[in-house]
């Protein structure tokens, strides 16, 4: 249905003012900046917000549970989409170091326990040399096409648990949390001495579809 932009935006504004979740439809992205502005205005309407007591309780319970279970293993967290120090020795415990880490090789491929090939895009949709962010269940990745070859690396920084961004002008993956950048093959370029990004298994089917080894 071809709705007018003002009608589409009004539906979103109206939802926000009723306290509803941001739900977007095809075509809404056309006015993405206006939608982000509407969300900020709606967010400022009642001044700074505090957590609802029930939510705070749920959060406290889940935090206590996390702590009582001990630190997550690197593998479990990577597959769950949580960013961790990829260079830690396999199965090593986490939560040990908030500072810069020493340079390590890293770059091991992510091997989900119950891995499944997930369709993420058509090979023709990938722009030559440009990073495309994809999500395959619990595995986030940046996919690159160079000619007929498609490669993928984890979308999570190898140091802090932050989702990387593709900086087209620099041709590099950049971490928003600290001055770290990575080449499309996952190698650190400057700043902190970090392990390489984890590789992600990727393949192109006979039908020209790009599939990433992820989770359900």
């Amino acid at each position: 249905m071809n709705r007018k932009p003002e009608d589409r935006l009004e539906r979103i504004v109206s939802g926000l003012l009723r306290g509803r979740r941001l739900k977007l439809r095809g075509g809404d992205a056309e006015d993405k900046e206006a939608i982000a502005a509407a969300a900020r205005l709606a967010g400022a309407r009642q001044g700074p917000q505090r957590m609802h007591p029930a939510f705070r309780k749920r959060l406290a319970d889940s935090l206590e549970q996390t702590q009582s279970q001990g630190w997550l293993t690197r593998r479990a967290a990577l597959v769950a989409g949580l960013g961790l120090a990829a260079g830690a020795a396999g199965g090593a415990l986490l939560g040990r170091d908030l500072g810069p880490v020493n340079a390590r090789a890293g770059g091991e491929p992510i091997e989900p326990v119950h891995g499944r090939w997930i369709d993420v895009a058509a090979a023709t949709e990938l722009v030559e040399g440009e990073g495309t962010h994809v999500v395959a269940g619990g595995v986030g990745a940046f996919v690159f096409r160079h000619g007929d070859t498609v490669t993928a690396v984890s979308s999570v920084c190898s140091h802090l648990p932050c989702e990387l961004w593709w900086e087209s002008h620099a041709g590099a993956l950049s971490c928003p949390c600290h001055p770290a950048t990575f080449t499309p093959d996952g190698k650190p370029t400057e700043g902190y001495l970090l392990p390489a990004l984890n590789k992600v298994h990727v393949r192109v089917t006979a039908a020209g579809r790009v599939e990433v080894l992820g989770t359900e």
Partner: protein, 176 residues
């Protein structure tokens, strides 16, 4: 400042009391993270989901006994990343635009009016009719019909003006 005062202040900054658990500190800091996220997504359900995600991502990486400043810095760094992912997924906002926007997002203090102040500054830079329609709609909670009556216009015209006003608000860049 006396040597004792200096030592006391230093001790408070460097090390938490032994009895303070990382969870308790993290919860207080997560209140700030929640306010920060809410001010950017404008609704409770998304703010709760994203705050939970920040906690899940960041807490396992915090050491027991980490100073509050380290906990806060780490949580907000994670919050910026999570918000980036949220907008990128929902809207397809470009990463460069996101980065520009999030660069303004310094961690607020405990009693911060950060979100409200920023929005007021944005509104102040808009033409009168744009500012008026957004104030009535968002800050006073008027319906489109009520805004139209107040501004002596039609619902259709107000809807278009709302769209243009939000587009204009999105273009305002604050010198922060």
């Amino acid at each position: 400042m006396t040597t004792e005062e200096q030592a006391g202040e230093q001790a408070e900054v460097i090390q938490l009391p032994v009895t303070s658990s990382t969870t308790e500190i993290a919860l207080d800091e997560l209140e700030l993270v929640y306010a920060f996220i809410y001010a950017r997504v404008g609704n409770r359900a998304d703010a709760e989901d994203l705050t939970q995600l920040v906690a899940l991502k960041a807490i396992p990486r915090l050491r027991p006994g980490s100073p509050p400043s380290a906990v806060r810095g780490y949580l907000f760094a994670t919050a910026r990343s999570v918000l980036g992912g949220f907008w990128s997924t929902r809207l397809g906002l470009s990463e460069a635009e996101l980065r520009d926007d999030l660069a303004l997002a310094a961690p607020p203090g405990p009693a911060s009016e950060e979100g409200t102040e920023t929005v007021q500054q944005i509104l102040d830079r808009l033409p009168d009719n744009y500012r008026r329609v957004l104030e009535l709609r968002f800050l006073h909670g008027y319906s489109l019909k009520e805004v139209a009556a107040e501004m002596k216009s039609t619902v259709g015209a107000i809807k278009v003006m709302q769209l243009r006003a939000l587009r204009a608000a999105a273009k305002v860049r604050l010198d922060e």
